[in-house]
Every structure is written in C-alpha cells, then in structure tokens.
Amino acid sequence: MSGLIERMFEPGRLLQGALVRSLLHSAGLAELQPGATLGPFRIVREIARGGMGIVYLACRADGEYEQDVAIKWLPQGRLDTAALQLFRHERQILAGLRHPHIARLLDGGHGEDGHLWFAMEHVEGEAVDRHAAAHGLGWRECVQLLLPVVDAVQFAHGRLLLHRDIKPDNVRVDADGRAKLLDFGIATLLSDTDARRAFTPGYASPEQLAGAVPQVASDVWQLGRLLHEVLAAGRGPAPRDLGAIVAKAMADDPARRYATASALQADLRRLLAYQPVGARPPSLLHRAHLLLQAYPLGSLAAGLALTAFFAVIAGFMLKLARQRDAAEQAREVAQAVNRFINEDFLPGADPLQHGSGDIRVAELMAGALEKVEQRLSGMPEVAGEIDLSLGRSLAGLGRYELAEIALGRAIARLGEARGSGHASVLQARLIQSQVRIGAQNLAHNENDLRALRADAAASLGETAVLVADIDNQIARAAFLREEFILCEQRFLALLPRTAQMPPDSRADTYMGLSLCESRLGHFAPALEHAQQARDIYIAGRGADHPFTLETHIAIETALVGLGRYDEAVTLLRELQQQLSLRYGAHHPTTLTVTHDLGFALSCAGRAEGVEWLRLAAASRAQIMGEEHPWHAMSLAVLGMALLRQGDTAGAAQALDRADAILQAPGAATPFVQAIVLENRADLALAQQRYAAAIELFDAAIAAAEPLYAPQHQRLTILQLGRGLALSLAGRTQGQALLAAALDRLGDSPDCRANQIEQARRLLAGAP
C-alpha cells in the first residue's frame, strides 16, 4: 500500500487510505463513559480504539456472576429488520463457537442510538507479534504458539464460519502463554456491504482488496500473513520450508493456497517434525539436511524418520510413524507434551556434538522416561500421553525394552484416566504389539493383536481407522512369519475395505499385499499394487518421502520377478544413490537396495552385480551382525553371481559361509534357507557333483514348497534344476521333468536363464 503522499498525485486515490477511514469511523461515534451499561454489562474503562471502533473493558452488572468482558463498540448505524434478524442469527451461531483458542462471543446488541456492540471473553495479554518480540521467540516457538490458532480457524471453518480479519492484533497471548483468537466472525456480523470491506489494510487478501466476498481461502491467506508477521517479530531466521509454507498460504491465486486451514496445519506439523512439507517439494540434498536435523536432535521426529526404515530391515515396515500421525491427542495434553519435550528433554541434546545420534537419542529418551515419573506424577493423563510418545519413538529407535516399559505405563495411565476402550489406549496396545514384532516375539503377537482387534471393534466400531490398521498389522504378522499365502489372503480380504480407509492405511494394505504377492510369485498384481501405494504416497507425502521410496523397493522387486531386469536396474541405481545420500551407504535400507541391485545386475548377466553383492554382504555383516539371516541371504546370492561368472571356488566359499550362519540355532528363516539350498544345488550341478545336486535340489524343493503356491515359478525352476541334475546323472526321469518344467515356464523370463538354455539344449539332443 503506497503512502499518502504518493497517492496524492494519483487522481481520485487520496481518500482511499487508512487516515480517511479512521476519520470516517471516529467521527460520529459517541463514546461510552465508565459506569454506562450495555445489556447486562457495565463499562469499566476504555482499553483501545481504532479503525473498527472503541474497545471497553466491562464487567457483568446484573449480579449473576463475576465476569470481565471486552466490549467492542462499533460505529455502524441502525440496521433494518431483515439485517437485524440476520445479525441475531449469526450472533447465536458465534456464541456457540467454543474452542479453547477462540475468545468467545458472549453477547451483542444495539446501543440506544443504534450503534452495534459485542461483548466477548476478555483476554488479558499482548498481541501475538509483540509477545513474540518481547520474548524473543524462535521460529519453532512461533509456530507452536500459532498452531492452535490455525486449529481454531479450522474448527470454525468446519462450522461454516469465517473470521475475515485475522491479524496479530486479533491474536492475544494470555498469562498461560496460550494464543487466543479474538473477534471471530465480527466481520460477518456487519451488514454485507460493510463486511466485505471489514478488513484491515495490509491484512486483506488480494481478493478481499478487489472487493470479492471472502472465502475460506481469504482466512488461509490471513493465517499466512499472521505467521509472517509473528515470525518477523520473533527472533532469528526461519527455515526455508517455513518461508515456503507462508508463501503458499499467501499465494495471490486462491486456488494455489492451502485448500483448508487443516492442510496448512498439517504442513506446519510436518515442519516441526523435520519432515518435508507439501509447500516445498524437497530436493535430495534438502531432504538429507532435514534428516540430519531430525536424526541427532532427538526430537520425537527422529522416531518418525527412522521408523519406516527400521521396518524395512525386517523385510517390512512397522509404520509406527503412521500411528503417531493418526493418534488423536487432546490439544492441551499435546501442548503439555511439547513443553515437556522442549523444556525437559531437548535442552539436553546437543545435536552436532555427538556423532552417534541414535544412541544419544535413546539415552535422552530413557532419561526422559524417568523425568515423566518425577515431573508429571500428578497428571496421569499427560504423563500417559508422554509415555505413549516416548514408547513410539523408542520403538522406532529399536529400543524395545524401554519402549515396552513406556507403553506399558501409557496403557495403565491412559486406561485409568480415559477408560480401556479409549482410542489412545488401543493405540498404545497396537504399538506394543508392533514392538513385539520388532523384538521378534512373534509367537504371542497374533493373539495380542486379535484381542486388541476385538476391543477396538467393540469400542470404536468395525469401521474405525484403528481397526483397519490393526487388520493391516495382523496381515503383516503373517508376512513376518513368512506365511505368504496367509498374508496374501489377509490383505486381499482387506482390499474391499480400502475405499473407506484413509490414504495412508490404504497404501499400507496395497504395500503389504504387493510384498506378499511378490514372494508368492504373483508379480503382475504385485507390481500393480506397489504402484498404487506409490501413487497414494506421492500424492499425500511427496515423491521423496521415505514411504514413497519404500514403494519403489516393492516395485523393483516385482520388476525383477517379471524378468524386467533392465528396468529394475535403472530404478535400483537411482534408489541406491538416493538412499546412500540420505542415510549413508551402510544404512540397512540402502543395503536392501544394494543387494537387490547386485541381484538384478547378475540376472541381467552383468558382472558388475558381483561387486554390489559383495558390498551388501560385507555391510550387512557389519551393521546387522555376522549371524543375521540377511547376511546369509547376500552371501547366497553372491554365490549365485560368482557361479554365473564361472568362479566356482568363490561361490563355494560364499555358500559355505551362508550355510554356517543358517546352522546356528534359531537363526534360520525358511525363505533364506530355501535360497541358500537352491544356490548350493546350482553349485553342485556346476561342479558336476550330480548326486549331491539331486539331494540338494530335493532339500531346496522341500524347503520352498511350503513358501510358494504350487504353480510358483521358483518351484518350476527348482524342478528344472532337479531335472538337469537327474538327466546329467543319466537318470531317465530327468528328461520328462525338464519337458514339464519348460512347458510350465513358457516364455517367462527367469534369473536362471542359463539353466533354462541348458535344459532346452539337452532336450534337443545337443551336448
């Protein structure tokens, strides 16, 4: 807005400034004297005056009860009957608008001379921008202070009410440090033409300035402006993501703003959790930077960032973060949690001084766990919420024992305070069962989950999101036990319910289904479902989000299964690079992709695969331990790749090491077992030890049969291998086996193309 002097020289614009407006409003507005009464209120004194009128402090004068109110005395003249009716109606709606962060409208009416007045809850405190300046608030504190205000606006929008005049002066911070939004809907109460112009210069959205009727988008714009002002008043620079959020909220074109206040709120929450925000699709470097911030800082966000990836280690995600998102936390409680975290918990963390972030984080959380006892023993509900948050994060960090303690306490405390059927209690139980999966206490888990499901369905209803999440978890439990047929059945049964699920739960179902389908050799639907999950995550969380990247892993798996090795290699190279940049080359998830890249390259007949597999095997040993079955898995596939290169000695060595790992008690998983056996059989075949090969193929088939559906290509390939061994050993039934296997295979590609080729030549009578 240009100044008065500049405007003077533009024809017809002199009178369009704030000064003239203030003149027009102040003129003719009779002042109220202390002691005067308006309805049940008696004027105490003037608090402020401005463009919209005069504000008085008043108290209830009818002896009903003591109450201080702020009375807004407006210069508007009399209303006609229709307008008056509308005014009363609106006033009634506004009086019903109850939110802890909205100063409530209590009453309103006409003075004797026709002036309008409103009485509202008096909030003693300074304007939020002055508060931010006086207390030197950092950006994080500013956002935390304003989040409830955004929520308040969303709350009102849900009731079809607009504020229309959101600005720092309308947001006051009370003695408890809570921001309250004043003047809600006052603009709406003015007659239509007045209301259209009832905004404050500098705080009006472009379309308001143009005289359009305000919409939700105008309030969103003003929220952006509010954020901007408060951040400017506070201390220090704000991150670029926050700048992007403000810019998106304040986009000139309403269609390019956040569609709702809650979308803005969600982005702000993501920002606080160091997650990428929708306003700014993150670059890799930026994402890495975010992670660097999130990981060692030890905010609960660390749990968020790590959770999904921990899960991939186990072959599938636990999605604890998901539940965090979904958790319904009472607002005050959440704030107490935040305060606890910021004041008691985070100050102990010095992010950049300590290299091994996760250990430090876990120590901090363990410390925090004790502090919950000391500090919050008188507030069981708050303590319960914090226990729940800590439990979730500790679980994400792999600290299962501590997580169990925290979750156990959360269940007890929240159960007592809110009842055992409360969503937060059920939520804690779900995480607890996930923790047990993480700790590999798989045996008891499914019973726990079933009991939890029954309780959740009873308390929340069959259609509750939490129930769908529990069902997803039950299906996932089958996956983790490597019961892929059961897993597929369970996820397939969930498919018809996806229409009612929120996007994240829906993607969860698709992902789980895709992984199980892949393991069963149903690669075409596996690819399709993984792509569906990918699309959901890209839309909701962005192309670079960890969950989106996970779906790429599922897609890559399906591509390999379909024999589309070149496509898989391209995707894997990209993923490997992305993940290395983001999490380091030795991160378990990066290693999963490194392993798969080596496998796909080897299947494509490229020698380079050996190097990737060596890297995967060595790093897995280092990160997960020599005894880990996934180490054995990489060794077995390395054996296959070496054999492909003609290095039988190297292959033998790798397979012996894999075997040794699987011999250790309790270490074996049938899936890895079958793969090691198959590769050992291949090696024996290549070494022309046909008797041993036949034995090994028999063992491999026995191990694989329970894992795969009868027509699975893996089984066909094993039969083909067995046929080769038999034929080469001079046994007559070999040829028939080969013919049947080749017939079943048809044109389907397979990684063992060399064996297929060998079988064809044998059948054709060639040497």
């Binding site: 024809p11 017809g12 704030a18 000064l19 027009l24 304007a127 002066d169 259209r196 112009r197 404050t200």
Partner: protein, 183 residues
C-alpha cells in the same frame, strides 16, 4: 442567499471566522457522503472529485435557485475544507497518540497505517505553509487539484486565474511536495 453561500463569500474575502464555519458546515456533509461512498459496496469509489461535486450538488440543491451561485468557487473552497478536515483529524490522532499513555494501545495495523498517514499529511501541511508564504496561489492550486480533485481547467475557473498559470503553479507545488517523498 443561503447561509453557506454567504459564508463562502465571506471566507473568500478572507474572513477566518467565516471560513471555520464553512468547514464546520461542510464537515458533516463531506463525512456523510464519504461514508456512503465508502460503504456502498463498490470498491474504491471514494474519491475527492466525486465527493466534492456531490457535496456541491446537495448544498446547491438544498438552497434551490438561491443556492450557491458559483459552483467553481464552491469547489475550490470545498477542497480547502477537505484538507482542513483531514489535517484536524491527523492532529487529533497524533495528540491522542502522545497523550494516550500505555493504556491506549493501538487497536490494529489499520491504526498504524493511519498514524503513518497522519504524520505524512502533517508533513504536507508544513510544506504548504511554507509555500503559502512564497505564493498563496500555490496552496490554492494544491487544494483544488489534490483535496478537491479538480482538473486543471476547473482549478483555473475556480481560482479565476489563467490555465497556464495553474499549470505552472501546479508543477511548482508538485515538485516541492514530491521532494517530501525523497526526503
């Protein structure tokens, strides 16, 4: 002759008391008209030209045939009245701000903008005072052009001076005022 016409004649003749009465009389009218224009729902309809002309029509109309005989004369004075009204308001604001104490926290950003404009206007006013000492006609031209929203031709008519003089005086005054912007 209506009261206002009389007062206008007297004011034009240099009677300060008559001038203050003209301002007082015009004050309510100008404000009422301005408020109407401001809340008529059409964006940015409030401009000095329309306001002053409308004000003239009302006063002239109310006086019937014996209303204000000299329209251009009235318009010149109305511009001056408009300036006086705005300056008075700006002074009130500044006084309230200085004397208001801590209790009178400003209500909103709107107020800050109005305060800023009030200061600017008082800056303009002091330049005009200075200009008035050099050549009274410079101020009259500014009143017509800026605060009355009159065209150069209307201004020449209202002030009864040649168009070319108006153009020269206007250029001169404008330059002085625009220096304020740079300062």
């Amino acid at each position: 002759m209506s009261q206002i016409t009389l007062l206008l004649e007297q004011a034009h003749g240099g009677d300060e008391a008559a001038w203050q009465q003209v301002v007082a009389l015009l004050y309510d009218d100008l404000l009422r008209l301005a408020r109407c224009a401001n809340t008529s729902g059409k964006a940015n309809t409030l401009n000095a030209t329309a306001l002053v002309h409308e004000c003239y029509l009302r006063i002239a109309g109310s006086g019937g045939e014996n209303g204000i005989g000299n329209r251009s004369h009235f318009l010149a004075l109305a511009g001056r009245a408009m300036r006086q009204i705005l300056v008075n308001h700006a002074r009130d604001r500044m006084a309230a701000k200085r004397g208001g104490g801590a209790e009178h926290t400003t209500l909103d950003q709107h107020d800050l903008a109005a305060d800023r404009e009030a200061e600017e206007l008082l800056g303009v006013e002091s330049v005009l005072e200075q200009l008035g000492k050099e050549d009274e006609r410079l101020v009259r031209v500014v009143d017509c052009r800026i605060f009355g929203g009159l065209t150069e031709v209307e201004t020449a008519e209202a002030l009864r001076i040649p168009l070319r003089s108006v153009q020269r005086l206007w250029a001169q005054a404008r330059e002085r005022l625009q220096n304020l912007l740079v300062a």
